[in-house]
Symmetry: D2
């Protein structure tokens, strides 16, 4: 009999849900015990209702699983990975937390709640202890944890070593985002062939706020936001996977590009985030070529979990300029939630039986 | 007999040269009397040696013209539009200026010369009078004038009304540039399908310098550079035509988005730049939708000569953010040189016979 | 007061409907008197409910028109251009025909009705007289006419001169179709970037059947189908506009490529289809280059109404191979219906007052 | 000490050469002992002169290897994988064969030589014995073997089980080919964004001839060509990797789609081609969905070595229609040569020491 940790995938037929199913195939710690979906899918085999969109085949074990409703009654598991849309997550995720399930959510619904962490373990693993505040304040036996917006992800990871070494004052961020970030069917092809869409609804707010929470400090029952400021433009381009973000950065203390490259390359992250199955290794790759990172060539670095930085150079108005690439549906979505889940299991929040 | 102004097109078989030929078809003032090309093409009909890359047919009059060398001996004309690459322009353009031809160049070779104007007539028509300094200082009977880099073009035009109304302090510019800007064959398809290239060699320098010259003031025999600063990231995306630039702007005096929109919409430019055949009309269009301008939908606004602005909104760190679109091979290259040529003809620099 | 022919556009907010509105702007014969739409749009200004997707602005006259229901009660006009989807067309179009309106429909609903013509005037203008059969058999004072599927369009036009000169036995057709043919939002971007979709639902049936009706002969109250056979594969590719079809053709009598080119270039079509505002001129362009026609370069030939043929060469198993390009939303959809409407007006089927 | 088979890669810096280097990384049988390149590269480290274009890093062992000239004097190895262009291959490959090296070539130079096999081991492994004829007739101690054109590859494999079961009479093939097939820089981006190129120079000849040799029978010192005929159209589309070919097939004896699917699925190929490191497993996958295979989703099936077939259905003029997908730079180029090399090693043509 398997002694793996039972895990449910909520909204498993959607594009994030499919990535969960793909990445959970042969996971050394986790075993999928439930896949949930909408009314249209409930009671039918996953292989029949899921319009599989990823290269490679749907794992055989998933094909025959019967899709269940997204309710704690239908799904008992100590852990659930949630690909729910924000509006559904708002009600469903607390129901699971109340029932004793720890949720690792990709949705934005609870990212701004004071006692809910937005986790990127390689930069803020200690924020996971907000789970204790949640349990105390809300009476939950489970918990809700989130991963950030896919664009916030790469830039926050790349900024962390600079924050540690030099401090951060101001960041100007402009994204060139991949299509998979919009889900499926998402962006209509007629809107993006031979084109750019210079806006992504609601994204700029998230990109200006989330990194400051993630780069903030756990203080009692909440996070003290980092004090630097961010200005963001977000754009959609004709790329399948991989978000590029250009950064112009004002540091707390001056630093030369070579020093910045050095701290980026040396960065390892908190000890508790290292050596997990989905830990990025290395956390950050810095490329020396003057035209990298590029989505098609670099997005799968470190199996899609590594953040890739390039073009570290002086900024003509501030201190440092650089370009960051992150795989938006792996590090920035499903892989991120999974990494969070591994951290949570290691830290004991799934209970002693499931501590790894 | 035609009383049109004879014009030569230098490097007419290249991608900028082809646009010149296309835009000069049925021009009300100009008549092409010579097309020049490289050794490979000289002595052969243009229609035979030019690998025509534009939608629509090569004009019939061009097809039979015999390609000549790019020398003043082979080409007599009061006016020449130059699509020469910078390295060739360095020697060839002064030879023509010495021989009495006024050059409207798309090359970067002389943009930084103190007495050579970089012209965008709708924002700096008076800079054309640097021709007098050139003639005095260099003894030329012709002249060299230039148009800016295609990315500098749109952003400089969009910044001008703000400079006039509020002053400019700092500008953070990030471009998403079209493929045609790299000429032909230019970018390899394998480098851009499902991809972004986060650098364009030499471009950032130009984008940080040229707008300050164009937005500067004519002062004696040179231009006093505008004092604001620019930081630029330049990126290549899978778009055929139309450069998008995102701008975060610190103004001299605070202004609300509505005020910025108002000055952009009211902007008409110097009187001498209005009403020419290639004058943009209007100079600037401001779109209200939250996801425009887009290259495919908006690049042909005003036949490709109008600058399109959108998403005018507060910047979270500075004053104003906005997005600018400009057609890089029309307003930003061949159409720009042609517009300059019209201004020069109107201002009398081609001599009384050719003043329009 | 205008003496133009009043025309209604049915389903004016959809992608075909928008093309109708665009192409009707400044039409010399027609004046739009009504735009219809779905429940969501009725009673609101077109400019407010229509998500305009075409390059260039919505015509000013359309912006303020109030959208009406698609019923003969709400819309009185001698002529209606229909962009209705097939399922709605099935009931709505006969209602208009009963009420006295002549419908030029882009929908497939009635293409297979014995007394309804599928019109491509440059190849089968005489089929328009089926309107008389309709009126006699169905008691309509109006009529229903259709244009074919966008892929059937170009290939049928290119086959007609060959049918006339040499006869046709068998045709193997493979399409590479543009995205706009799927409407909006149509194909999801994630399905087509770096990809091909090797099927278009229902298309192959149409492509194998419609050309045989159009190339058939009017015989009494119906069309006698042409006797040749067609085999079709239909594919979707990452192109915005312009369908490419490769053809391998078995002729009735042998012919050399040069003879085929000659009959294609000489083709003028029936006299009644010439000289109308939307008549293609020329009907067919044959290109000599070995890599044309190409959608981006050639689709706007003859303002998008001309059929472009290239690579006419021997087939290694049959007689002749060639490549055909047709603009799928202009010649193959809205422009086609409009051309049909002009033919109908000329032939007197809108009544003497509206005969042109 | 390694007991692997020493292998040289000829033209290792090109796009096929890079794939060889990538696929040879950790190969269980082969060890790269030499990389060759052009004058520009000779004497320099591969990592310095090779503009690496593949996702993922260049293998560490390759980075420091010094590039050598493509001559037998500079390169001693029992086996060489050749990515040489056809014009260079014509002289260089025989020089190696004379010197005792067995060449597995991706070039077309010798495909039509009577005693040179074009190998796709899963369909014609016995053709490898032509090496004996070569050695006897030409006095070589080495040999030249080739793999076919990338478009011939997939369709030949898919046709083989049909030839065996039903016989083949006529095949109409139309390709939609990926950009990587043109090498690097290959197709200019401006030629393919929002476009299709309806010709690939020289390709149709190859596609009509090569499959007939590969599906022919070894007979003495040459191959008796298969007697069926092929007509091909070849097109370039905006896809990075993966060639799609549509086939309309006239069989020797009638067969229903279900029977065709059955023989495709049951196909295993000659025994000697099974179980090698690069043997496709399975040889053919038949997909049931009505819109597959698709390049982005299916090209990596079987690590890029499996041929994927879909849409098996009746042809309206002949017997059977279907769609074939093959990874053009893996199965259709570098992976194919490597598979051939493995077959050759197994069959003893590298000598007893290197027989596996």
């Amino acid at each position: 009999m398997s002694n793996k940790i039972p895990v449910a995938v909520l909204a498993a037929t959607g594009s994030v849900g499919q990535r969960f199913v793909q990445l959970l195939d042969n996971h050394p710690w986790f075993e999928v015990v439930a896949l949930t979906g909408s009314d249209r899918s409930i009671g039918k085999p996953y292989g029949e209702v899921c319009h599989w969109l990823l290269p490679g085949e749907m794992p055989a074990w998933a094909r025959e699983m019967i899709v269940r409703p997204s309710t704690p009654e239908a799904v008992q598991a100590p852990l659930a990975l949630s690909g729910l849309p924000a509006d559904l997550a708002r009600d469903i995720e607390p129901a699971f937390a109340t029932a004793g399930t720890v949720i690792c959510s990709n949705a934005s619904a609870y990212r701004r709640a004071a006692d809910v962490p937005i986790l990127l373990p390689e930069i803020n693993a200690p924020h996971v202890h907000l789970i204790e505040a949640q349990r105390r304040l809300r009476g939950w036996s489970g918990a809700i944890t989130t991963n950030p917006n896919c664009t916030s992800t790469g830039m926050s990871i790349a900024l962390k070593p600079l924050q540690d070494a030099f401090g951060l004052k101001r960041v100007f961020a402009v994204s060139l985002q991949a299509l998979s970030g919009a889900g499926y069917p998402g962006i209509a092809s007629m809107d993006i062939i031979d084109n750019v869409i210079p806006n992504i609804g609601g994204e700029e707010d998230k990109v200006e706020w989330e990194p400051r929470k993630m780069l903030g400090t756990l203080s009692g029952d909440s996070i003290e936001m980092a004090s630097f400021g961010i200005s963001a433009h977000t754009n959609r381009v004709a790329v399948t996977d991989g978000h590029v973000v250009t950064l112009s950065i004002e540091l707390g203390t001056r630093a030369k590009p070579a020093e910045v490259v050095e701290v980026l390359r040396a960065y390892q992250g908190p000890k508790e985030a290292r050596g997990l199955p989905f830990s990025p290794n290395p956390v950050i790759v810095v490329r020396d070529e003057d035209n990298r990172p590029q989505p098609r060539l670099d997005r799968m670095t470190g199996s899609g979990m590594t953040t890739v930085v390039g073009r570290v150079r002086p900024d003509s108005l501030l201190d440092i300029r650089m370009v960051v690439l992150s795989h938006n549906t792996i590090r920035g979505a499903a892989g991120g939630s999974l990494f969070n889940a591994e951290l949570i299991a290691r830290m004991g929040y799934l209970g002693p039986q499931y501590t790894r």
